[in-house]
Symmetry: C2
Subunit: 459 residues, 2 copies
């Protein structure tokens, strides 16, 4: 019977001494004169299974020459080996090579650098590191959907191509069907001939559209791509990434912190349960103490503290800051790090100076701050950013005018405040940043299948 490796691991007793058939790939192989071993995997599970064969196979000679990552079909007996290093193995009665891996296969041996593997992005999920990362990514994505769906949130696909720039500040990619060579030869840009009849770009956030659906369904979330045309070559920037943006009607700042904390714990718990083998590998080879860090998070109560109180703590700290902390100003990476260490766990920083936050955030009565919240986590910095949204039409429009924003293009967004407005809140979480936190991988290019960065759009 055709089985997969995961099934053999999860139900090994059931399969004891059964005749089984597997289809998959050769991870490594070694042989001696009369017998050989193949470490085999079919992609269903992180761990390999050992195939044992000997020269009673008619194609024994051929099998001894099998190359790494050739695809093979194996028939044999599944045998429990409680006394051996591996818990079971397959004693092959037949092995046939279907797809030979040619001698120039780039991943011959272990120990490639992540930089080299980025160039081989189409092959890197075959390595232990990327196999673990991308399975965690898949399981974490599902955990997010489960979390929200089980709690009555409606999943909304907000648009990717848009004429509004969301944050009022994003650097956007332009989307066009104009023939640029024609633009150059004509010497003018005729947007009336462009696909949408105007200048449009790729979204930087689905929040504004998300709010419209929250005022119909009460609770919604998005999970989709977002784009930034920032010319940043850092470990934490890519031009195309995935975001989760829940919006919740009848929910204030405290309420949205409750959701963020509960959601993060749910994701961490699910990944630790469902990706045990992957997490153990990552703990061992990528980030020592990873599992302990995550288990600690599960059992901690996140600190909630105002931006002002954070600045006071930073000022009182006996630290020679590169950037001096100031009331009314943003905080730097070194401050984020200090504050999570100070509280020994995740920290919600609330009530930020309004001038460093977005126009749509709820204006506090002090006239200086907004009901914004950033979640800082140990070892990863800012993981989520949220706020209560300004639900008052007059206050929102006066803030937009203060900032010199044109209000006509967002009349629909403003109208939400005129047609059944609610106290409502939401947050955004960068999915790749979450995966970096969960896996301990330090470069965002290594947690997304095909990263897009300045000058780099391969595959």
């Amino acid at each position: 019977m055709l089985v997969d490796v995961k099934n053999l691991y999860k139900n090994s007793d059931k399969y004891a001494n059964a005749e089984v058939e597997l289809k998959g790939w050769v991870k490594t192989a070694r042989d001696s004169k009369t017998f050989g071993f193949i470490e085999f995997n079919d992609g269903s599970f992180f761990r390999n299974i050992q195939i044992v064969y000997d020269d009673t196979l008619s194609n024994f000679e051929e099998i001894t020459k099998v190359t790494i990552y050739s695809s093979i079909e194996v028939k044999g007996k599944f045998i429990l080996t409680p006394e051996a290093k591996q818990p079971f193995e397959i004693k092959a009665t037949s092995i046939s090579i279907f797809g030979k891996s040619e001698s120039d296969y780039p991943l011959q041996k272990k120990g490639h650098s992540v930089e080299f593997l980025r160039e081989q992005a189409y092959l890197r999920p075959r390595t232990n590191l990327f196999n673990a990362v991308f399975r965690v990514r898949s399981v974490a994505a599902m955990a997010i959907h489960e979390y929200f769906q089980d709690r009555g949130y409606v999943y909304v696909h907000t648009p990717l191509i848009t004429s509004n720039d969301g944050e009022g500040a994003g650097e956007m990619f332009q989307v066009t069907t104009l023939d640029l060579d024609k633009v150059a030869s004509l010497g003018k840009v005729q947007y009336e001939n462009d696909f949408f009849g105007k200048k449009v770009g790729l979204t930087v956030t689905g929040q504004l559209e998300g709010e419209t659906f929250a005022h119909a369904f009460g609770k919604i979330y998005t999970f989709g791509p977002s784009f930034r045309a920032e010319n940043s070559n850092t470990k934490t920037h890519v031009s195309e990434f995935w975001m989760i943006e829940p919006e919740i009607a009848f929910c204030d700042l405290e309420g949205v912190m409750d959701v963020e904390e509960d959601m993060l714990k749910y994701i961490v718990k699910t990944v630790l349960e469902k990706c045990r083998e992957e997490m153990e590998f990552l703990d061992k080879f990528v980030s020592n103490g990873l599992i302990e860090k995550l288990e600690k998070l599960l059992n901690s109560k996140f600190t909630r503290i105002s931006h002002e109180d954070v600045i006071t703590i930073l000022k009182e700290a006996k630290v020679d800051w590169e950037f001096k902390p100031e009331y009314g100003e943003d905080i730097a990476k070194e401050h984020e790090k200090y504050i999570t260490e100070h509280f020994n766990g995740p920290v919600f920083i609330t009530n930020w100076p309004k001038d460093i936050k977005a126009f749509y955030m709820k204006q506090n009565s002090d006239g200086k701050t907004v009901a914004a919240v950033d979640l800082e986590v140990p070892g990863a910095g800012e993981l989520m950013g949220g706020s209560q949204r300004e639900e008052n039409y007059d206050k929102l429009i006066s803030r937009m005018k203060e900032l010199g924003m044109r209000t006509e293009e967002l009349d629909w967004y403003l109208n939400l405040r005129r047609y059944g407005t609610t106290i409502h809140s939401g947050f955004g979480m960068g999915f790749e940043r979450l995966i970096m936190y969960l896996t301990g991988v330090e470069n965002i290019r290594d947690v997304i299948p095909y990263p897009r960065t300045p000058g780099n759009c391969e595959f």
Copy 2:
């Protein structure tokens, strides 16, 4: 205690005579001199709950003037009313109006056309029709994730911005950070100054990248946006839509049909179970017989028939075709309709003429056809398109050359056939087309939150 409408419907016995608190919106209201009724909803459930109030409320006069879609907070007693039209109601002890809906609220009364509601896309999920459609959309999306995750598939985010055109034929949107005004004034296009240093666009498919991950994980699926810059103004075309694209190693054409059939039945079953109220509404007001159609699908075995045999049936049919069916040629909408009626259910049409299908499809030994399959369903036409992929390097490259394709840019895709190739298959399903089929809604603009079509990119 704060409860939501869904909870009251699902656990009405538990809440009998309880003091409850609700936050939501006024759907309709009517009153007489001493009492009044409010149809109330908070977005958690398709059905409303009735609020009864009388002039013992201190703000009775104000409440009688409450406008449609104002947001309110209600406290009162939850009372079972088994003898009345509605199964229960809330006898209010207090109602406070939080967000008045102003008099120019566009959705005052029922009976707006879908065309008008498209212009009010940010408000339309508040109507019964769109509320039903977008909840079905959310539940169907989750069913798809469940289906694949429960069966060991890994969810992969394939890239949106790309330099390859996938199908070898798609009309793509261009993505750029070049300043078009500068391009016009310079009189030339300097791609070396563009963000990625070359011409790139928005993906038309994630399949090719999906195949690379299937050769690591065995079974994968994508669920993400896809784009077409086609200048088509029809009921079934939008420029931005969502696609599901599974890829399965060690799976042939028969195997992929098994998955398609099983997946579709799972989605239909889940939606019928979880969206009973929405589906009953859609059955009654949008598409009579919708539920019966879907239940019938659950109990049917999908027909599998070759393209050649389909043409024979069409030729023998006593029908005055607008387009004459021919061996070796594509079939028209009228043929799709006839064939699903002929077999009284969904039909897989297999082994298509190679010249009307994509380059990557498995070439059959007859030299004329490829191992492609389209799934036709009654009332919706083509719902999925799939194929076994050509796993043989030489055959694939010779087909590409035959079609005049440049092979260098797809060397990584070709290399999959040199490094552990497998018999593998996959398919694509347009998510909006699925939602049209599930809801009976006939215009694709009405099943996606903010549709993008030629000349139309609002919100």
